[in-house]
């Protein structure tokens, strides 16, 4: 049977089990939107195309499925670029469909033409311009395959208007595409090496990253660490891959990592790094990073190995399959650790934890952002999916909300995109309507995609926004305080809307707390309401995120803020 391009698109999406599209219409995709009108496919109309991509991204991070967007050509397409780059840096599977002018006009500077495949080539895993109707179905199938296979990532598919209007036969059972799946190759020799290294190590440490979450390997990683009593630290993207309330957990490492995680990295003699890429925010100066340790690195992507940190034993492979092999190998060959050695190492770690715990100064007068997050954790019993914006709000969340489960901390790690949290929360809440979904936001970031409050209101997507309002671009201000002698150049944001009134104007609920004693009751109320709620917490304005490793320093060399006096 012959079908039109627009019909093939929707049928192909059904084949891929797509249950929602985040999108925004325009001239080049009018035909597709007309087909959507007749179809049962769910579509969420966002208020800005960047919001569509972040929403699809949040959906993908929380579900592990591929997120899908649909936008028009030209400005619709260029508006997706920040979202695509965000997903690309964090290896999130997306398929973004963009409209394009008819093939005959491409290259003519036609109305709303832009070379979006050219623009997104460096920030997608791959992209396609569909040149003929015969290519449409196979391209869509390939796009989904590429997005979710191996190291995942965003794929863009550009759809010229005339191609979508053309007709061809559609037979989903007979579409042949290349195989992109990476087959797992066991590496018994390397497992033997790991066995030897673990046997001779006195101070082993596991470092878990986003690859453990993407590879669905949290259970294996947790099992390995608990069985052999190996302490675990994680990158920002790894939060939730090991239970944040487990005694073996050391919290995040790196620039705003805990004192004890950074000390453990600097003193361990074996580092088992799983699904991490050793970003400079994590390592501090490379020279002294894990300087006393042999490093084993497991990653699916060879380009992540030896990129920043030179490792002793690279193992290229899927994190889940490789950790499973490792667990089996260690068990089969009766790996045992010396209880005395382990006790000494865990004792040392406990001593660091006791010396400089993750804490903050409660003065009773001002709302401390850390207290808001702790209270949120307490009230939700940690049973919530949290998105963040970027800046201090993001770092405090990483430090003070102890994530016990994978796919529950949703944040732009690699690109650090302000404006990510709200649309991402909408995508998450769409996927999990029965879960508490909270965007922990900053007053600067929230204004970057504030228009998405309308999306939440329209579709009754009841996200909660915990706004840590310091009236500053706080993280930048912190750097100005520490490194520019408090010259606060263009970081004061006191000129802002009244967020409570703004929420009300959007038809959602706005609440405000200005005193510490109001925090718990406002959170309780906000969380209990069956509507989107924005809670404006007027926090201590010049609170800083500590510990902090100064840029270019060793990660064992941390500023601890006011606690420096104590130590």
């Amino acid at each position: 049977m012959k079908l039109k391009g627009t019909q093939i698109l929707l049928k192909a999406l059904e084949e891929e089990n797509v249950d929602v599209i985040f999108g925004y219409p325009g001239g080049a995709v009018l035909d597709i939107y007309d087909e959507l009108y007749k179809s049962t496919m769910k579509h969420i109309l966002v208020r800005h195309e960047q919001g569509a991509v972040h929403a699809a991204d949040g959906y993908a991070r929380a579900t592990g499925k591929v997120g899908v967007c649909l936008v028009t050509s030209g400005p619709g397409a260029t508006n997706t670029v920040t979202g695509i780059a965000t997903a690309n840096m964090d290896s999130i599977p997306l398929v973004v469909f963009t409209g394009q002018v008819p093939t005959g006009l491409i290259g003519n500077d036609a109305f709303q033409e832009c070379d979006i495949t050219g623009i997104t080539r460096p920030c997608t895993k791959h992209n396609f311009l569909v040149r003929s109707i015969e290519d449409l179905a196979p391209t869509i199938k390939e796009a989904f395959n590429i997005a979710r296979s191996g190291r995942p990532g965003p794929v863009l598919v550009d759809l010229p208007k005339n191609v979508m209007a053309a007709e061809t036969d559609y037979d989903p059972a007979n579409i042949k595409i290349r195989n992109y799946e990476v087959t797992h190759k066991p590496a018994p020799k390397k497992m033997a090496n790991v066995f030897e290294m673990l046997t001779s190590a006195k101070r082993p440490l596991i470092m878990t990253g986003g690859g453990v979450i993407l590879g669905k390997a949290s259970a294996q990683l947790t099992g390995l660490a608990r069985k052999y009593q190996i302490p675990v630290t994680g990158t920002l993207m790894g939060l939730g891959s090991f239970p944040g309330t487990d005694p073996l957990w050391l919290g995040m490492l790196g620039m705003h990592g805990t004192y004890y995680a950074n000390m453990a990295i600097s003193h361990c003699d074996l580092l088992l790094a799983v699904g991490v890429r050793f970003d400079d925010r994590v390592t501090g100066t490379i020279k002294t990073f894990a300087a006393n340790a042999k490093i084993v690195q497991i990653d699916i992507d060879p380009s992540s190995i030896n990129k920043n940190v030179v490792v002793d034993l690279p193992i290229i492979g899927d994190t889940k399959a490789t950790l499973t092999d490792m667990i089996n190998f260690l068990a089969k060959h009766n790996y045992t650790y010396s209880p005395a050695d382990r006790q000494e190492w865990l004792g040392q770690v406990a001593e660091w934890k006791g010396k400089v715990p993750l804490t903050y100064c409660q003065n009773g007068k001002e709302i401390k952002p850390q207290y808001v997050i702790e209270t949120l954790h307490k009230l939700t019993k940690g049973n919530a999916i949290i998105t963040t914006e970027v800046g201090q709000n993001q770092m405090w969340t990483a430090q003070f909300f102890h994530f016990d489960h994978p796919n529950t901390f949703i944040s732009s790690g690699g690109l650090g995109t302000m404006g990510f949290g709200l649309p991402a929360a909408i995508g998450v809440k769409y996927a999990f309507p029965d879960k508490q979904v909270v965007d922990i936001a900053g007053d600067g970031s929230i204004q970057m995609n504030i228009q998405e409050l309308a999306t939440a209101a329209q579709y009754k997507i009841n996200v909660k926004i915990v706004l840590l309002n310091n009236g500053y671009l706080g993280m930048v201000r912190q750097w100005q305080e520490l490194f520019y002698e408090k010259r606060y150049s263009h970081t004061d944001m006191t000129y802002a809307p009244d967020f409570v009134k703004l929420a009300e104007a959007y038809g959602i609920i706005g609440l405000r707390a200005t005193k510490p004693e109001e925090v718990e009751s406002i959170l309780k109320l906000g969380l209990s309401l069956d509507k989107p709620v924005l809670m404006d917490f007027r926090i201590s304005r010049e609170e800083c995120v500590y510990p902090m490793v100064h840029p270019g320093e060793s990660i064992s060399n941390m500023s601890l803020g006011s606690r420096e006096m104590i130590n």
Binding site: T117, G118, R121, P122, K125, H126, L129, I146, R151, Y180, D301, P302, S303, I305, N306, K307
Partner: protein, 161 residues
């Protein structure tokens, strides 16, 4: 680490923008392409790209890994670390002016250069060789007055599989 020239042989799917992807992958990460040669293989849908770049072994391994990540790249080989044969080709036009005519004819004979076109007023030569042979030929051609020249990128083949 020691920097040297590396010759990469890259098999790719012959897609419209595969060269742009490869060039972008290198350029975008700050690596330079010194020489480039592209054509289809015995199968039209598969092309081979031979590319040279200068860097330490560490840098070049990084480049190889980045290239391997591209969906349309099938295989990347560094021919510098295996036994391989390299060739470049130049086409040169020499103008047969009255004062140079005899000198040019003599040089063509002694060097056994291949004459592709011989006209009254000019001559076009084809010279192949490895990088240093071509450089050497250029030294000899220089005094004869090169009117125009085209030089290909390096192509290379490993001796054994």
């Amino acid at each position: 680490m020691e920097k040297k020239e590396h010759i990469l042989s890259i098999l790719v799917h012959n897609k419209p923008d595969v060269l742009a992807r490869i060039a972008g992958t290198l350029g975008g990460k700050g690596y330079n392409i010194e020489s480039l040669s592209v054509n289809t293989t015995t199968q039209y849908e598969i092309s081979k790209i031979v590319m040279t770049t200068v860097g330490s072994q560490e840098t070049v391994t990084r480049i190889e890994n980045q290239l391997q990540r591209l969906v349309d790249v099938i295989a990347v080989d560094d021919l510098t670390n295996v036994e391989s044969i390299h060739r470049e080709l130049i086409l040169v036009r020499l103008n047969l002016t009255a004062d140079k005519k005899e000198q040019i004819k003599k040089a063509v004979d002694t060097n056994k250069w291949k004459v592709l076109v011989s006209a009254d007023t000019y001559m076009i030569l084809e010279i192949t060789g490895d990088h240093s042979q071509i450089d050497f030929a250029l030294v000899r051609l220089e005094p004869l007055g090169i009117a125009d020249i085209t030089r290909t990128g390096i192509i290379a083949l490993n001796l054994e599989n």
